[in-house]
Amino acid sequence: MVNPVLLIAVPLGSAFAIPLFALFRKDAVKYIPPVALGFNLVVALLLFGKVLENPVIVSIGGWRPPFCINLVAGPAGVLFSAIIALVGFLVSIYALDYIKEGPTEKYHMLYLLLLTGATGVVLTGDIFNLFVFFEILCISSYALVAYLGDKAGIESAVKYLIQGARFKPSAYRDRLTLRSIRHA
């Protein structure tokens, strides 16, 4: 039984495990993202054959759907998560040799969390959860834009962050509107 929640839990867990791993083998940290994303790719491809017949809906925490968060793995969602895993896998192979400057360990963590956020956005079936994953995606990309700490990067990150944070209230308002619709 392949569960779609593995697509989110495994990269997240391996990103959290990177500082622990760096204690023992600091030079081998850069191989964690390709492994995790390769795993994601395999899981997504295994799921794809199954969801073509009927979509897999898993609830998290074991309650009925309006009272908990559920993941909806339809054909489009699984296709997109497979594409994300494939592109992420290729980029992480390229990054093995390319990322040399700066705190590289932090780069690998941020990169894995970015792809976790992207996978969560395509798989989730809950509006507030979508917002949370979108925030994971946004914040890790702000940090990655400013990663090198040079003039252009910092400037662009400031612009990006303020533009992104400005639209937060409208996201909240949409949520409220949805609430009031459900209330009626």
Binding site: F128, I139, I154, E155, V158, L161, I162, R166, K168, Y172
Partner: protein, 119 residues
């Protein structure tokens, strides 16, 4: 009195949101803009909590036996706001670190003096 009863919390939240947005849009100093973001966050949180309130409600905690569940306030907005506060401080800290680096590069925080930041 019923006007105050009904709308005072909404007025407060509304005012905070508008003042925060005004600060973000008009001020030139980056740290001032970030303070505006913080005020905006507080306003949105107050707004969500006051939406969940019911008149003469009690907190959604079964702290003593015999509490009437009918009069408890809505727990869902409280849960969302609890996490939103932590997210708010995370974004503020990241923005402040970017402000510090910007100051190290340009020696100023005035967004009008930095060529790429004008609008």
């Amino acid at each position: 009195m019923s006007f105050l009863d009904n709308y005072i919390y909404y007025i407060g939240a509304f005012g905070l949101i508008l003042i925060g947005l005004y600060t973000i849009l008009v001020k030139h100093n980056l740290i001032k803009v970030i303070i505006g973001l913080g005020i905006l966050d507080t306003g949105v949180n107050l707004f969500l909590i006051s939406v969940g309130y019911i008149t003469k409600g009690t907190a959604p905690i079964f702290s003593r036996p015999g509490i009437d569940p009918e009069h408890m306030v809505d727990p869902v907005p409280q849960a969302l706001v609890l996490t939103a506060i932590v997210i708010g401080v995370a974004i503020l800290a990241l923005a402040l670190s970017l402000a510090i680096r910007l100051y190290q590069h340009y020696g100023t925080l005035n967004l009008r003096k930095i060529r790429e930041q004008k609008w």
